[in-house]
């Protein structure tokens, strides 16, 4: 595994008047930097769980779609990983975006069930009110951000 190089700073980034649209790479950067796999000491990028090609953003339509690939087809943590990604995006993106997180087709045994859970707004909201679950999600999100 290897990490993508950091995005190159261009002069446009410094220019006050140029508006940078939110693109795939930006979402990918948000995800790859700071989510840990609950079972490994590695980030999702290093495990190839999240890849830049599987991130779709439409800045005009306000939608973000992320497909993630669990490390093994019956990974028990798939739901948690999905939830972490979703929470991370909820926290990092403007409210106008509709966030859709699901498993890359054909990479998990109970793909449909997990996708359904992640798509269900009510269930996500309920999960986030469960303090224990929230604690675990925060664990995944925080630890790496501290070290980076």
């Amino acid at each position: 595994f290897f990490n993508e190089q950091a995005r190159l700073q261009t002069t446009e980034d410094e220019d006050e008047d140029v508006a940078d649209p939110i693109d795939d790479r930006e979402i990918f950067d948000i995800l790859s930097v700071s989510i840990n796999d609950p079972e490994h000491p590695l980030s999702l990028e290093e495990l190839n769980v999240v890849e830049q090609v599987r991130v779709r953003v439409d800045d005009q339509e306000n939608t973000v779609g992320v497909e993630f690939t669990p490390t093994i087809p019956h990974c028990s943590m798939a739901t948690l990983i999905g939830l972490s990604i979703k929470v991370k995006l909820l926290r990092s993106l403007p409210e106008r975006f509709k966030i859709d997180v699901h498993i890359t087709p054909g990479t998990h045994t109970s793909e449909d069930a997990v996708n359904k859970q992640l798509a269900d707004k009510e269930r996500v909201a309920a999960a986030l009110e469960n303090s224990q679950l929230l604690e675990v999600v925060n664990q995944c999100l925080i630890s790496n951000a501290r070290t980076s």
Partner: protein, 1005 residues
């Protein structure tokens, strides 16, 4: 005497019964040292206890004796030592409770300088015989090792007489040691044994076994380890032992081969480094039989590794192995193992070089290069095998990428030969010179940019070889032609950068070719008129600057550049302003590169008058209507560094300076070329023409950069004129330059009465101008004040406070308040053109801190006293000062300034906002308690700034909010919802940089 012995008996009694510890020892030692009794008397007094039937009692007795001995081993006589040693040796056979104390005592005795001959051997014999070291406690084991080290240092010859028994004893006592501290000692002993020629006898393998069982060392010190032993230390200590003697070779090499198979990264690395270390000691015969095995492992490491460190360690090992093999003298009957080894290497690597698309090319090339760097013989062999095929391939392949790879590999082979014993033999590459050159030249004429760049690197490498390019002059000239053509025709910035670099390094070696070929061509091109684009001329000028490293070249190139300036001045060449400036930059670059030799010195001695002359001509014409580019401020400012770099170094600087001074003061034009100036010029009179007065900046470049040993002539008159000019002239460049020049001179003038009165006069003059509100020259006076304060502040002059106080008072001035506030940033930062270390100015260490500690209180006071609308000036000044301070000082001082800084966040000026936020951020990472009480204010104000129109302010405030999230949880809890809501807005910022900061901050909250 009787009283003494009674006392002694009492002491002994108390100690043995355990009532007294330290005190008894101290008293006894004191008395012994004072000569009140002898050690034998102490032993007599102890007599009963030493012969007691209770082992504990005997132990206490021996302990007392040992403790005393540790303190006063230096005072014993030889006779006493002998007796004591016999006693202690006997005690070793005693009960195990006593042993620790006995060893302590023996250790003390071995430190005696009067150790009788033969006793060292007997001590060791009994130690090895009677005790089993590994069953002792940690401290006692360390004692034993210390005894060994001590004896090895003082009685080396006796121990060597012991023969292999000593080694055997050591091996026995170390076998099984686990503690890292003791291991360090043990490795130390082993190193001595190996390096100082102790007889290993038949115990070589045992000694190796007992040490090598730790290889490779895997040791992670416990957290907060008080002993501070690192893995590194152990590794190095062990490596020295293992690589110490060729006699270990037959054991060590198989071990290394085995450990190289390990999966542990550090083990591999350690093995490779150990191999490198031992290969530099071993001889060919030690290595010969293991070569195939070693090569197989090394090849695998280099070919398959993912880690760069392992790869470079492997290459280093290959290099030293080759060097070792080539070092040894050949026997007529044995086969040459270097050849055998190279045969192996070539067999495995050579065919990879034929596949430039595959990734094994690089490791193979590196391996081969490592071997060829190692020795002349090896490079000869490798070059003969590899180069022909590489050259042939280059000629047969047609794809650019492949050719480039091949060329890069070739470059690798050209390079190493440079470092190998140059001059002793003719270069290995001589046979291939012709074909290499033709390849390089053909690559240079390709259109692919990467290929061109690589070929120029090869060319540079070839040029470094003494006899490669130079032997037929035609090759160098051909190379120069190619380079010239590239300069003229290639627009790719990467290529032109490479050309300039290559030309620069070749010009150093072959100046003649450049003089005859390149310079005239470039000159022609520069003056060919508007046919070519501006970019070409720019490249020509840059190339001229790059090649001018040798005096002979400087002599050729500077006239060309000067001619450009002249023709720009007369308007014949149609040179744009930027071109003129870039010519000035090139001249400056040449001045910086020029070694300080007589010849270049002479050249620049001519350059300065010509520059001055040009400027003067322009200035004189300027008043009569015709406008020359030399008059432009930007051009003049670009000329200043040329003059200053030259004056800062040149031996002739003094002469040049005195001429310049006489020009400016007296209008002495006699030294200028093309002597056609009117006789009466007064450059330092504010009077009519600004084009003349602004030339004072050239004077500044000249006199302010002189080394301090060079005296400026007519100093007093000069200062007077400058003061006048800076206070009366109304042209910004003129009066600022005059003020800078004045300050530069003041900074360097020797301390004393004269200087003090000068400053007094200056201050009075400034004050009168500043105090009269109607004076038209207040800005000028202020500028002068600022620069003179800086000059004095830098050298810690006592009068500087008077001037800076004046500056502080100006902060509340209605007109100059803002200027004064900005002035503080000038005061605290380094200026590039004057008053810096390069100009030999008197700059003390830490002047910023000093200024801050002396003046922060004044600033706060002034702030509190000022009326509302004036406060922002103080805040701005404060933020300038604080921002230029080193971080550590900032951290300690900030809590005191906190109220002011919080106030500054409300200040409308964006510069103040950014600098305040960037000061606050590091403090917030480690928050002082004063901050926590202010949290409410802090959060409110920083959040407000996240919507600022300036991107920098937004970023800085978001960083602060991020830092705030690390405050204690109970403190920030109340703000969480508010912060999260406020951070939603910057998440949708139109700048990506801002968004990413916001995302990070929000996630932390």
């Amino acid at each position: 005497m009787a009283a003494d012995s009674a006392l002694l008996l009492g002491l002994v009694e108390e100690f043995v019964l355990g009532q007294q510890d330290r005190k008894a020892v101290d008293t006894a030692t004191g008395k012994l040292k004072a000569g009140q009794f002898t050690i034998l008397q102490l032993v007599e007094a102890l007599g009963l206890h030493l012969t007691s039937s209770q082992p504990q009692t005997r132990g206490r007795g021996v302990q007392l004796l040992s403790n005393v001995l540790q303190e006063c081993y230096g005072d014993l006589t030889e006779r006493e030592v002998e007796v004591l040693i016999v006693f202690y040796e006997n005690r070793l056979k005693d009960h195990y409770v006593i042993t620790p104390h006995v060893i302590q005592g023996l250790k003390a005795l071995t430190k005696c300088s009067v150790l009788p001959p033969g006793s060292a051997v007997s001590i060791l014999k009994s130690l090895f015989q009677d005790i089993h070291v590994q069953s002792l406690m940690l401290a006692e084991r360390s004692c034993v090792y210390n005894i060994l080290i001590q004896l090895m240092e003082s009685r080396e010859s006796e121990l060597k007489g012991l023969g292999a028994d000593f080694v055997f004893g050591f091996v026995q006592s170390v076998d099984g040691e686990r503690d890292p501290r003791n291991l360090l000692l043990a490795f130390h002993i082993a190193r001595k044994i190996v390096h100082e020629g102790y007889d290993l006898g038949k115990f070589t393998e045992e000694l190796f076994e007992v040490t090598s069982c730790y290889f490779p060392i895997d040791f992670s010190p416990p957290a907060n380890d008080p002993h501070g032993i690192t893995q590194e230390e152990l590794v190095l200590a062990l490596r020295v032992v293992l690589t110490g003697t060729p006699r270990f070779a037959e054991f060590l090499l198989p071990l290394i081969i085995e450990k190289l198979d390990s999966d542990v990264q550090s083990a591999k690395l350690d093995s490779l480094q150990t191999l490198t270390a031992c290969a530099s000691v071993y001889e060919q015969k030690d290595l010969a039989q293991f070569l195939p095995g070693l090569w197989a492992s090394l090849r695998r490491e280099v070919f398959q590794t993912a880690s760069e460190r392992v790869e470079s360690a492997g290459l280093a090992a290959v290099g030293t192995l080759t060097a070792c093999l080539s070092r040894s003298v050949l026997n007529s009957d044995s086969e040459d193992s270097l050849n055998v080894f190279l045969e192996l290497v070539l067999k495995d690597c050579q065919h990879h070089l034929c596949e430039p698309d595959l990734k094994l090319v690089w490791p193979s090339a590196k391996l081969l290069q490592a071997t060829s760097t190692a020795s002349y013989r090896a490079s000869h062999r490798v070059a003969a095998a590899v180069l022909p095929s590489l050259i042939e391939q280059y000629n047969s392949r047609t794809q650019c990428a492949q050719r480039r790879t091949l060329l890069e590999v070739l470059q690798g082979f050209v390079h190493p030969v440079t470092s190998s014993e140059e001059g002793k033999y003719e270069s290995v590459l001589l046979d291939f010179r012709q074909s290499l050159c033709s390849i390089v030249f053909s690559a240079l004429s390709e259109s692919n940019a990467d290929l061109q760049i690589t070929s120029m690197r090869v060319l540079t490498a070839l040029g470094q070889q003494t006899d490669l390019l130079s032997s037929p002059q035609s090759d160098v000239e051909l190379a120069v032609d190619h380079l010239t053509r590239l300069i003229l025709e290639e627009g790719d910035p990467k290529v032109s950068l490479a050309v300039v670099e290559c030309a620069g390094s070749l010009a150093r070696l072959h100046p003649a070719a450049f003089i005859s070929k390149m310079v005239p061509r470039l000159k022609e091109e520069i003056f060919s008129g508007g046919l070519r684009s501006k970019a070409v001329r720019q490249r020509c000028v840059a190339a001229l600057a790059a090649v001018s490293s040798r005096p002979s070249l400087v002599q050729e190139s500077t006239p060309v550049l000067l001619q450009v300036l002249t023709s720009a001045h007369t308007g014949t060449g149609a040179f744009s302003l930027e071109e003129v400036i870039s010519v000035c930059h090139s001249l400056q670059k040449i001045a910086e590169q020029a070694q300080d030799t007589e010849e270049t010195g002479g050249v620049f001695h001519d350059v300065i008058p010509r520059l001055l002359g040009l400027a003067l001509q322009a200035a004189l014409q300027g008043s009569s209507g015709h406008c020359s580019p030399i008059l432009e401020e930007t051009v003049l400012s670009a000329m200043v560094p040329i003059i200053s770099t030259t004056c800062a170094r040149l031996q002739l600087a003094g002469q040049t300076a005195s001429r310049a001074v006489s020009l400016f003061l007296d209008g002495d034009v006699s030294f200028l070329p093309e002597n056609a100036f009117p006789a009466q010029i007064q450059l330092l009179k504010a009077g009519d023409s600004r084009s003349q007065s602004q030339m004072v900046c050239l004077l500044m470049g000249c006199v302010c950069w002189l080394p301090r040993t060079v005296e400026v002539p007519q100093m007093d008159r000069l200062l007077l004129e400058l003061l006048e000019l800076s206070c009366t002239c109304d042209h910004p460049l003129s009066y600022t330059s005059a003020a800078k020049c004045y300050a530069g001179l003041v900074n360097k003038s020797p301390a004393g009465e004269a200087l003090d009165s000068l400053i007094d006069r200056t201050l009075k003059r400034i004050s009168t101008e500043l105090d009269s509100a109607s004076s038209p020259v207040r800005t000028q006076a202020f500028t002068l004040l600022l620069w003179v304060s800086k000059a004095l502040l830098l050298r810690y002059h006592p009068l500087s406070t008077a001037l800076t106080d004046k500056l502080f008072s100006l902060l509340s001035d209605p007109e100059l308040g803002w200027l004064a506030a900005d002035g503080f940033s000038l005061l605290m930062s380094d200026s590039p053109d004057v008053l810096n270390r390069g100009s030999h100015a008197d700059v003390r260490m830490m002047y910023r801190q000093r200024f801050f500690t002396e003046n922060s209180a004044k600033l706060v006071e002034g702030f509190n006293a000022a009326v509302q609308e004036k406060k922002s000036g103080y805040l701005k000044a404060l933020s300038h000062i604080v921002n230029n301070l080193p971080r550590q000082v900032q951290l300690t001082e900030l809590p005191a300034l906190l109220p002011l800084l919080l106030e500054a966040l409300l200040c409308p000026d964006q510069g103040v906002q950014v600098s305040t936020l960037s000061c606050l951020q590091p403090v917030l990472l480690d928050p002082p308690s004063a901050l926590i009480t202010q949290l409410e204010v802090l959060v409110g104000r920083t959040l407000a700034l996240t919507t600022s129109p300036t991107m920098k302010v937004r970023i800085a405030s978001l960083r602060c909010i991020h830092a705030l999230s690390r405050f204690p949880e109970h403190e920030i809890m109340p703000f969480r919802a508010r912060v999260l809501r406020a951070l939603a807005a910057p998440l949708d910022d139109h700048k990506r940089v801002v968004r990413s900061e916001a995302a990070v901050a929000r996630n932390e909250w």
